[in-house]
């Protein structure tokens, strides 16, 4: 008597666990039009291939059962002839089924591709995403040049609005992948790619660089926030505002160091003397949900740790460990926290 109950017992938790998949970084997130279309195609493939699989398994078992019924010492004579009309009908039907199935999959694939392309027209918003090792440089393009917005690592999108994302890279090949919204598209240096996505559900999603790009490829995530269109415009408007002058003496000391010291050689804070373009824009750093391209959640502790010693949190990252003294570190973090 084989112990069957324990086998089923181990399967159940797995099945239950599969029910609770998260939506924020998942192909099953169903948060974007492209993802929905992909899932439709996925479902068609699953059903068709599943049915074929079951049929094949069924035939396999049938064949095993049939061979058991035949006598043990039956010898194959080696002469093949059309002996079983049922068999030949079944085989012809099987061929036809395969043909119809494959043709159906091809047609489904074609139409999904066409509808994805159609959804990618009429874009109302244009974003230029430049990949760097290991962070995302985001520029919201605007016909009015003075409304151009530059930010980093957190992409805000309006729900239901087709957005064309132009993809560039400053160094090596990266890949833009927000599975809940759409598929992957590479960022290739020297070439401009683009992808149009239409988010369908509000929420916060996680994207991931999907092409190995160096030591910290695993820590190059992208936070995508999908808002209603008015909320998105409010966010854009707020992001255009320059950083406010700090009010407390501690933050003021931090402001002097950040805008006059090493930070300003790489980072930009609008409205201050810090004009560097080669590192993430910090103007509204404290309002973001994560630090270091999705590596750490935005908390005061993480901010302290990141500013003091980025190399211990993300070894090899381009931001150097400066080794500030504690007083300076307090001042700098106090100032950075005012950059909402």
């Amino acid at each position: 008597m084989k112990p069957r109950v324990p086998a089923i017992a181990t399967l159940l938790p797995l099945l239950l666990g599969a029910c609770q998949y998260q939506h924020y970084q998942s192909d099953f997130g169903r948060a974007g039009v492209e993802d929905n279309q992909f899932l439709t195609l996925f479902t068609i493939f699953l059903i068709v291939c599943g049915v074929m699989y079951l049929l094949v398994i069924g035939f396999l078992f049938a064949a095993i059962a049939r061979s058991r019924r035949l006598e043990a010492n039956t010898v194959e004579t080696g002469r093949h002839h059309r002996s079983d009309p049922l068999m030949s009908t079944t085989l012809i039907g099987w061929g036809a089924l395969i043909g119809v199935g494959l043709a159906g999959l091809a047609i489904a694939s074609f139409f999904t591709d066409r509808s994805m392309a159609k959804a990618a027209t009429g874009e109302k918003l244009s974003v230029t995403l430049t990949g760097n090792q290991w962070w995302w440089d985001i520029v919201y393009n605007s016909a009015d040049a003075s409304k151009t917005l530059r930010t980093a690592n957190e992409l805000h999108l309006p729900v239901g609005v087709p957005t064309r994302i132009i993809l560039n890279s400053n160094d090596v090949i990266h890949s833009f992948w927000v599975p809940s919204l759409a598929g992957k598209e590479d960022l290739i240096p020297g070439r401009e790619n683009d992808i149009t996505i239409v988010p369908k559900k509000k929420g916060i999603y996680r994207g991931q660089c999907a092409e190995y790009c160096g030591a910290q490829h695993a820590h190059m995530a992208l936070v995508v926030v999908v808002d209603s269109y008015p909320d998105f415009l409010k966010w854009w408007h707020h992001q255009l505002e320059p950083a406010p002058m700090p009010t407390t003496p501690l933050a003021m000391a931090g402001y002097k160091y950040v805008t006059g010291g090493p930070c300003s050689a790489c980072h930009n804070i609008a409205g201050t003397a810090a004009g560097g373009q080669v590192a993430p824009d910090l103007t509204h750093l404290a309002g973001r949900k994560s630090l270091a391209a999705g590596t750490l959640p935005m908390t005061e502790g993480n901010l302290y740790g990141w500013v003091e010693d980025p190399q211990s949190l993300k070894p090899g990252v381009k931001m150097p460990t400066i080794g500030m003294e504690p007083d300076k570190l307090h001042a700098v973090v106090a100032y950075l926290e005012t950059l909402k």
Partner: protein
């Protein structure tokens, strides 16, 4: 020689050769803070009263001089910190050329690091306080590679800039000499 001896001999030789390449790949990501002193300027013709020889090479030099990672990081910093704006890709412009054999303030890696950190008269800016020591030495290593000074296995074998000039692995070695720039 028995086959076992031969096999282990081969293993030993191969690993020794492989390990020899380790130096050029060492990454130092935990940089030292700014503030650690870089040796004050000793130009090549400085007179050292009472002695007859220049001070020895700074011990940090060996970490950067033939290190592929330092040269690669230095190349990126060279573009980002606008060194390319004054010195082009070694040809010079607003600043003197870096790919020839003439050095006004010395071509040893510690002398170049001093130049970057302290600045020089007639226009070289001072980067102390703006770059960490690690970044300054990375830049110095890259600057040396512009005149072919590091060993060829540590430098890039493909020219990255638009003009597709000679890649660094083919740059001829130009031993540093003194500059004949007129003194103003």
């Amino acid at each position: 020689m028995s086959s076992l001896f031969r096999a282990s001999f081969l293993v030993a030789v191969t690993s020794a050769l492989a390990l020899a390449g380790c130096d050029r790949e060492e990454h130092h990501s935990r940089a030292k803070p700014i503030g650690e002193t870089v040796p004050a300027g000793e130009s090549p013709d400085t007179i050292f009263p009472g002695t007859s020889s220049a001070p020895p090479l700074d011990p940090r030099a060996v970490l950067y001089d033939n290190n592929a990672n330092a040269i690669a990081q230095g190349q990126q910093l060279y573009l980002q910190m606008n060194c390319v704006g004054c010195h082009s890709h070694g040809g010079g412009g607003m600043g003197p050329p870096l790919m020839d054999d003439q050095w006004r303030y010395g071509g040893r890696i510690d002398q170049i690091a001093t130049t970057i950190a302290e600045g020089r008269p007639n226009g070289m800016p001072s980067w102390r306080g703006k770059l960490t020591e690690d970044q300054i030495w990375d830049l110095a290593a890259y600057v040396r590679s512009l005149s072919g000074l590091p060993s060829k296995d540590a430098v890039s074998s493909r020219a990255e800039s638009m003009s597709a000039g000679t890649p660094q692995s083919l740059t001829p070695h130009a031993e540093p000499k003194n500059s004949d720039a007129p003194q103003q």
